[in-house]
Symmetry: C2
Subunit: 366 residues, 2 copies
């Protein structure tokens, strides 16, 4: 297969034009495009431009997402804010929610914001990372459509409900944990199905609830397994984490939860996704310089520790993504040819030409 | 093997007398005993009375823990509190820290408290659950002595660093997630070693960093694996969670972190364990009645969903522990005979007789 390399700014330009054409206000289009681009830059391509039409464009055209993102305050205190996202663009709603969260934490030390009635918001880590320039710890959770079965169950009832937490360091790169609470996202299973390969044992179950290596059995009536996998490997902890995220994003926020969260591909009404954000001012606990110095020390101790047999390097959460982002910013973002074709088509359908010249191409094996 | 059943109040009485004898003030001895008893009641016996002498008594006698628990405020705002535990009894320090956290959250909506210079605090869930009667969500983390290797590493550098979150429900029992971020605690490995059985593949690594089924290889120079296990099963997420807990409890709190956290068995100086607590007033986000109703609905949807082949029941985090606690409160807490013998010895050494009559006994296979 071949991948074409595109300049990050070109992809962003396309996404801004695309969203704007679908009646998203220009400044909001800029935000939504930036969140999606950030996923592509960080190598999380499952949450990037590949979703532009399927998760957002098609729903905007069907009027299933409100392009104006009319956010409303439901309840506010000095430290908390409960928002209704007005069935707006998930990225736009979430960007504003996290920005308000950070402002409140500047005043109050810590702040938490819930959002109901929103949509798929892209990568959780983006919003957590917004706290970093303010010397804060940022937290971001979202629920999502049911894909994960509870331990001992067989029906997909919980989303891949990610947890993202970002903490600044000094000379080292920040810690950015951004993890689905399932073992793998559903897209990984699709990749194996397309390649005609069995999936590793433990990633998913079939419709009877038994672990299967057949990707089709997972996709058709089966479910993903929560982080940890089987009971023996303590998969109930991953299930507990997935439920925790649904408690914060669904129950606390007053959004949909469990089986009622809308699928961004298929839901015929509002998806009613819920989010949760928090920001913590570090120097309420400790001088920021001390915090950063100890973060550097913790990071170095882990990275410089002896490697397992056959391994060359120990990573910190987010480190690979920072390196990928630097490389892609320099060399271009690789997109599969068929992805480019579908972006071109999606653009043509609404009169937004994909008129960018690739910086180069790559032959890849998978 | 034989287990003897003891009345919960008898065990608590012994622990209160034990702590008091070691110069812990009576009201503090009551707290410490209650936390330990709560672990035994909930069936988390690795964190209960079995540790009375090894983790606490022996250190109190060696003056390695300050029985007066002289907590000091380092920095305080309306929403945050940074405490120094004065190298006191971990349970006492943590109980007061969480109580202050709840008081602050009552005023401010949300509150967070860090603690440095503390000791092993027992079960994380105890403090998270303190929020429940106040209609709050409670959060509790602690770091602990190094036992877990980072992904691709081979040296134990992170603790089993638990995460506990408790959220109230309406008619259903509360959600109480209380999970180590390793797959299993080190005590599980010891159980397999004593039984001469291999451990399941993935629980631990040997001194070269390779997965081993030999419990001795894990215990002697090896390490536990983080939740998820291998790279293929996304063990780096569990590693990320363990590091996250160390960032909150070690770095943010200004306590020891990574390899420097003292082992409650062996450390020859202050363990300098760190904790993190948070309390969230639910009705700042949503009326509590609505929250509880949706919690019940979420819990029921999960529990009533179809079971996997061969399974009869789906559990909610904390549910098994609540049931165990009800049963043990009724029938008595089972303790292995050799545990009773060592408690008796430990008591005799300081003049605190273990003069309780078992309610009965059990023959068990493991």
């Amino acid at each position: 297969m071949k991948k074409l390399l595109f300049h990050a700014e070109d992809l962003k330009d396309f996404m801004v034009r695309f969203f704007t054409r679908l009646e998203v206000p220009p400044e909001d289009a800029e935000i939504a495009a930036d969140v999606l681009l950030s996923a592509d830059l960080r190598g999380i391509d499952s949450h990037g431009i590949i979703r532009l039409n399927t998760y957002y464009g098609s729903r905007l055209r069907q009027k299933l997402i409100n392009p104006r993102s009319p956010i409303q305050v439901i309840h506010e205190t000095a430290t908390t804010l409960a928002l209704d996202g007005g069935n707006g663009v998930g990225q736009v709603v979430s960007y504003h929610a996290m920005q308000r969260c950070i402002e409140k934490a500047k005043q109050a030390g810590v702040a938490m914001v819930t959002v109901r009635n929103s949509n798929h918001y892209g990568i959780a880590g983006y919003y957590a990372m917004m706290a970093l320039p303010h010397d804060m710890i940022g937290i971001s959770y979202t629920n999502s459509q049911p894909l994960v079965a509870p331990t001992y169950g067989r029906r997909a009832l919980l989303g891949t409900n990610p947890i993202a937490v970002a903490a600044p360091a000094g000379k080292e790169r920040p810690f950015v944990l951004d993890m689905a609470t399932s073992i793998v996202p559903i897209g990984r299973i699709t990749v194996f199905e397309k390649a005609g390969k069995p999936i590793p044992e433990g990633w998913g179950i079939d419709h009877t609830g038994q672990i299967t290596t057949n990707p089709t059995a997972v996709l058709q009536g089966g479910a993903l397994m929560p982080l940890g996998g089987s009971d023996l490997m303590r998969g109930y902890k991953g299930y507990g984490l997935a439920m925790l995220v649904d408690i914060f994003c669904g129950v606390l926020a007053g959004a949909a939860f469990a089986s009622k969260v809308g699928n961004p591909h298929e839901a015929q009404g509002p998806a009613n996704v819920g989010h949760f954000f928090a920001a913590i001012q570090i120097d309420c606990f400790r001088p920021i310089a001390e915090f950063k110095q100890d973060m550097d020390e913790l990071i170095r101790e882990l990275k410089e520790s002896p490697k397992a047999f056959g391994q060359k390097r120990i990573y910190i959460a987010g480190e690979k993504e920072f390196e990928t982002a630097e490389r892609y910013a320099r060399e271009g973002i690789p997109l599969l040819e068929n992805v480019v074709t579908s972006l071109r088509q999606a653009g043509d359908e609404i009169g937004v030409a994909f008129h960018y010249t690739p910086l180069g191409s790559l032959e890849i094996s998978e």
